[in-house]
Structures are given as C-alpha cells and as structure tokens.
Subunit: 370 residues, 2 copies
C-alpha cells in the first residue's frame, strides 16, 4: 500500500495557522527522543522557559509550554484560576472571545460579557464603565482575534486593572512572536499562546505564563483543580527546581521544535521579527487594495499577521480557496461564524511573513479573480 506521507506536498500556509515551518525546525522535530527526566532534556526545557520569558517580557517563573495545542492553554488558564461561582468578565469581539466564555461557563464561573462588533476592537472606556459595577476575579481578552484580524488594546485594559485584585488573562495565541507583548509592564497575570502561529512551529504546545498574583490564586484554591492533566500546581514541579517530579510524559520532540523556533526568533531579534511582519502586512494590504479588494478592519486596528479581506460580490469564495490550494499550493483561511462567506483570512505568521510569499499570493489571486 502507498504510504500517504510520501505524497505530502509543500503548501504555502497563509491561513490562520498553522504557518510555514523553517527547515531547521523540521530537523529539530526529528532529533532522537530523550527520556522526559533525562538531565539533557531538562536543559532544553530550561532554555525554552528562558526564551519564552524573553519573548513575553516577563520575569514570571511559571512560564512553560503546556502539552496540548493553543486551546489547551486557554483551558489551562481558566481551569487553574476558576472556582465555582467566581465572577469573570470576558471581552468578546470574535470566535476566540466566545470560546473563552464557553470554557469559563463550563467550569462553573459566573460569566459576564461585554460584546463588541466583530471586526472592531474592544473599547477600553466601556470596560472601565463595566468595572465600576462588579469586582471580577478575572477579566479576559484576546490580544489578536484570529477570527477577525483585530488587535485589542491589551495594554490599555491592563492599565484599568492595575492595583486591583483582578487577574488579567490574555489570549496571545496569534500575537506571540508577531507583535510586541510586554506581559509585566502591561500588568498581564495569565497568558497562553500556541506554537503554530507566529512562532512557526507545528501545532502541539501551548506556551503559558502566570504572574505571582495568578500563582497565588492557584495556591489559595479551596478545591483541587478539576483537571488533573492541566493542573499547574503539579506540572510546575516537573518544570522547576533541582529535582524534577514526573507528572505526565512531556511531548519531547515537540519541545525540540519549540526550542528551535525560539532560537530562530532570538537570532533574528524579536524587534526585527515584528518589523518583518509589519512590512509584509503593509505590502499585502497595498497589493490587495490595488486589486480592488478591501480590508474588513480599520487601519489602526489591524493585526499584521492576520489579514481579513472582504470577498468581492459574486465570487465563489470556496472555489477561490480551492484553486489557490490545488493549483497554486497556497492555503488561505475562510471566515468563521457571522463572517463565513464574507471574508478570507490571510495569515502572515512567523516564517510565512516573507515578501516573496506576499508576491506569490497576490499574483495567484490576481490570476484567479481577473
């Protein structure tokens, strides 16, 4: 029988993630597996923690990758911090804010939401007004809303919560590695991300960071975390200290991939990486507009790594994506929820954010649409 792996074609991944992967990251994935308690593997773990802290601009000791994809990071943040009936405020302007609401409700939180039009950002003054009413244990927001391409004002919201007891929780799945994150300066207490966006490592791990305030909320829980697999009070004993306690077997080779992906960002320099994302984004927008297409999101609110473009009248959007994939070997994303059929989502994440990729997509789109 044929081995399906032999016929995997290289696709230019310009959707909402996974993104393109550097050859050295692929090589990293195929290094020899070590035991999860091997002292050499622990050195690799320590290097990953160090680089994640650098990229997040945080001194948080509890800064580690969780053994699951980005959504496991969301689950981990909420399940470790929420106890039944805890009041939680979730700011929603897209799919991932809605997912936060669903996760928190399943865990028994009393969830309030503030909703904003999809394609527009969260408005900090409305958050401020809401905070007058209720004292929340957690306020949560998505930094880079992957479903719309909007950047939310994480720093401004953080300023509202400083000196409060509220835990500030941020989804950085799509932002980490593509735009600046200053976790400590912005007062973010709990943050999760994923590897398959701007870190340009295949999916499988969810970087997470907890401030001392978040750790102390975890430590003062009345009940055990209702999720053994994601219980940070146990996991941290595997990631910290001289003697490492086995919790679960870490995904060794995925950690090799993440290590290498972080090395590449550190070698290029985070600021240079962010600059590359911005430049590619500007070229993409200019190119799309010169084809007569228009962007969903207003210029000041756009993410560089996730570009939502309106589908022109009368165009069969799925057929265009099919042609791009099958004939041009380029993947772009469809719209989600109320934006299904209305937008395409073009990713410029991590290693994908190269000018030659922008040109290749624009050339293909021009040929298909005109």
């Amino acid at each position: 029988m044929d081995n399906l792996l032999d016929n995997i074609e290289e696709i230019l991944l310009m959707g909402p993630g996974p993104s393109c992967v550097h050859d050295t990251v692929y090589e990293a994935l195929s290094r020899k597996t070590l035991g999860h308690l091997d002292p050499y593997f622990i050195r690799i773990m320590d290097a990953i923690k160090h680089d994640l802290r650098t990229l997040l601009n945080t001194g948080n000791t509890l800064t580690i990758p969780m053994s699951g994809t980005g959504s496991s990071g969301m689950e981990a943040c909420f399940v470790n911090l929420i106890e039944k009936d805890d009041p939680v405020l979730i700011l929603i302007n897209g799919v991932f804010g809605m997912r936060m609401q669903d996760v928190a409700q399943r865990l028994g939180a009393r969830v309030d939401t503030l909703e904003f039009e999809w394609g527009t950002p969260v408005i900090a003054s409305e958050v401020q007004a809401k905070l007058v009413d209720t004292s929340y244990k957690i306020v949560a927001v998505v930094h880079a809303e992957t479903s719309t391409g909007v950047k939310n004002p994480v720093q401004e919201i953080g300023a509202l919560l400083k000196n409060s007891e509220t835990i500030y929780l941020v989804d950085a799945v799509t932002s980490l590695g593509g735009i600046e994150i200053a976790m400590d300066a912005w007062g973010v207490d709990a943050l999760y991300s994923g590897t398959q966006k701007c870190l340009s490592c295949p999916p499988g791990l969810a970087p997470l960071s907890f401030s001392e305030k978040a750790v102390s909320a975890l430590e003062s829980r009345k009940n055990k975390v209702p999720n053994w697999y994601l219980d940070l009070s146990m996991i941290i004993k595997y990631w910290k200290g001289a003697t490492r306690a086995y919790h679960h077997t870490a995904p060794i080779n995925m950690h090799y991939g993440l290590y290498q992906a972080l090395q590449l960002i550190m070698e290029e320099g985070p600021d240079n990486v962010y600059h590359r994302h911005r430049v590619c984004h500007e070229e993409l927008v200019q190119g799309l507009e010169s084809l007569g297409l228009s962007m969903l999101v207003a210029p000041g609110d756009r993410l560089p790594m996730l570009n939502s473009v309106r589908i022109p009248e009368g165009v069969d959007e799925a057929a265009v994506r099919g042609t791009l994939l099958n004939e041009y070997k380029i993947e772009i994303g469809a719209g989600l929820g109320p934006l299904a059929g209305k937008i395409w989502r073009i990713g410029l994440m991590g290693h994908t954010a190269r000018q030659e990729n922008v040109s290749r997509l624009l050339t293909a789109l021009k040929a298909i649409l005109f």
Copy 2:
C-alpha cells in the same frame, strides 16, 4: 551560542516510555506541515482511525487520537463520561489506578475503589463480589500497570460487566501495540492509550476509543462536558463525516508520526509484533535471573513490555541508573511510590523490543553490578 539540539545523544530508551523510535517515524515527524482542514491531511486522519481500529479490534466509529499525551486520554475518558455524583469503581494496583481515582474525584464522581497489592493483579472474583453491592456507571482498570509491570485481567473483568449498563473503561497506555487488545470481544466501552510506549512514536497523542454505549452516555449528558478542549461531542465533528468542523488545531506533525508508527506495526503484523515483545521479555528475564536478580511480578502476571526487577541489597540504585545513562547510553526507569528504591523498571516497548537491546542492557548491567 551553542544549539543544544546539536548535542542530543542517541539513548537506548529502556525505561517506562518514551521508547525507541524508528528512523522512518522521525522522518515522518519532519514532513511538511499541512493545514488541519487540508483534504490531504484528512486522508491521513482517516488512515490513522482505520489502523487504530484494527489494532484495537474494534468497529467503534469514535476511535481517534486526542491532542495530548497519554494522561490527556485518561482525562478525556473520565471528563466526557462523568457527571457530578456518578458512582464509579476504580480497581487499583499501582500509580495509574491511583491517578484514575484522582482524576475521577476531581470531576465530582462518587468514587469507590478496590485495592490490590502492588505487583499483583486485580482479582476478578473480588470485583464480582463488589458489583453485587452497587450499580456503577463506570468500572475502570489499567490493562498494563506501568508502575509495577503487572497485567490485569481485562477480559475477565469485562465478562462480569457484559449485559450490564456499566461503562467499562480501560487504560491501555502501555499495552497498546505490545499485547493483544480485543476491545469489542472483551466488552470494553472506553479506552485510551499513548503513543510513546509500544507504538514507538514520540509522546504527544493519546489514542482513544468509545463504544456506542459510551457515545450514548456522552450524548445523554445533562450538562456540557466541563472541559472544552477534550469535549468529544465537538471533537468528533472534526474527525468524522464529509465536512470537517474546526475545533482546535490538531498537532499535524505528531499525526504524521503516529501514522507511520501504525504503518510499521501493520507491515510487521500485530501478532508478530506481540511475539517479538514476548521473546525479548523471556530473554531479558532469563538474563536478569542468571545475573542473580529477581523479578517483582509472578511469571503468569508479567507484562512483556515492562519488567520490574528487584534492586539487590546494598546497591545504590540511582548510581546504577546514572552509570547506565552516562556511560552506556541506556535509560531504565526507577520505581514509583512505595516501589521507589525497591525496583528498576525495564521497558521493552515497541521498537525497543529487539534482542540486541536486551543483550546490550544485560552486558552493561553485568559490568556495573559485578
């Protein structure tokens, strides 16, 4: 700065997992990442489902890998099946039975346990007696108790539960791919495993299978599964049907690895693979005994893939493991819990189960101990 990945040494992994990985599985991990909704990736997903069903001897439609390591499979089985105050019986004779108890209690189940001496198997007649008292929603047992090297009588316990409404839940983390599993014939309703044991793929995925009885328990829940990330009622929509609905981004490259690991088992033939495990196990036991060492578990109850050997009087067990790792590049496992300092755990899992590996370990042990 040095790249730590450049100095990873190849270790002969003879501990309790991860096990040695075949070169073609390493190559698989480094194939080009596809999108999680790419039709070609969906073909690979379908092939994985097919091979897992073959290996489990089941017709269960819901047979998929979860996006986490083996313990996420345990978490997934319990969290999808348990609602608050459900009566659950857990059969315990090692660490992983205890872990099941902890997981189920955190989820609000009313947990009864039957405990058996570590190093001995669960006794089916005692289970039968216990079942007279109470009608349990779930009865759970570990097939291959990795902490002791004991094989539990999964088939016999299944016979006790046939024609009952009880859901029979089995941990097959260490058994899958090393000894026969006949999920349907044995009446197993819910089963989870891990990739890093006898499947010989690096850790990162947890194969899981639900019978129709288990699926209908899931479908008739009063409340949503209190874990968004592992909610099978949503995940199945990504793994089944003509149109695949996005839930979370699957760990693409880990799936390539699992696909290839399953291919290798199918090419060799599962029965031949099991035979190879048995032969290596017998040679190992014979060799250890000829060195004067003794096994923890009685002959009829031993697992071929996990061999618990008593540490001789006066031996510094950690020093021996250190020398094996540093000088001989062989990893073996320490004892856990009450068996810490009392046994070594020698794995013969998947690709590790080769006669040359048995010889290499025996030679090294002889040199170190005598």
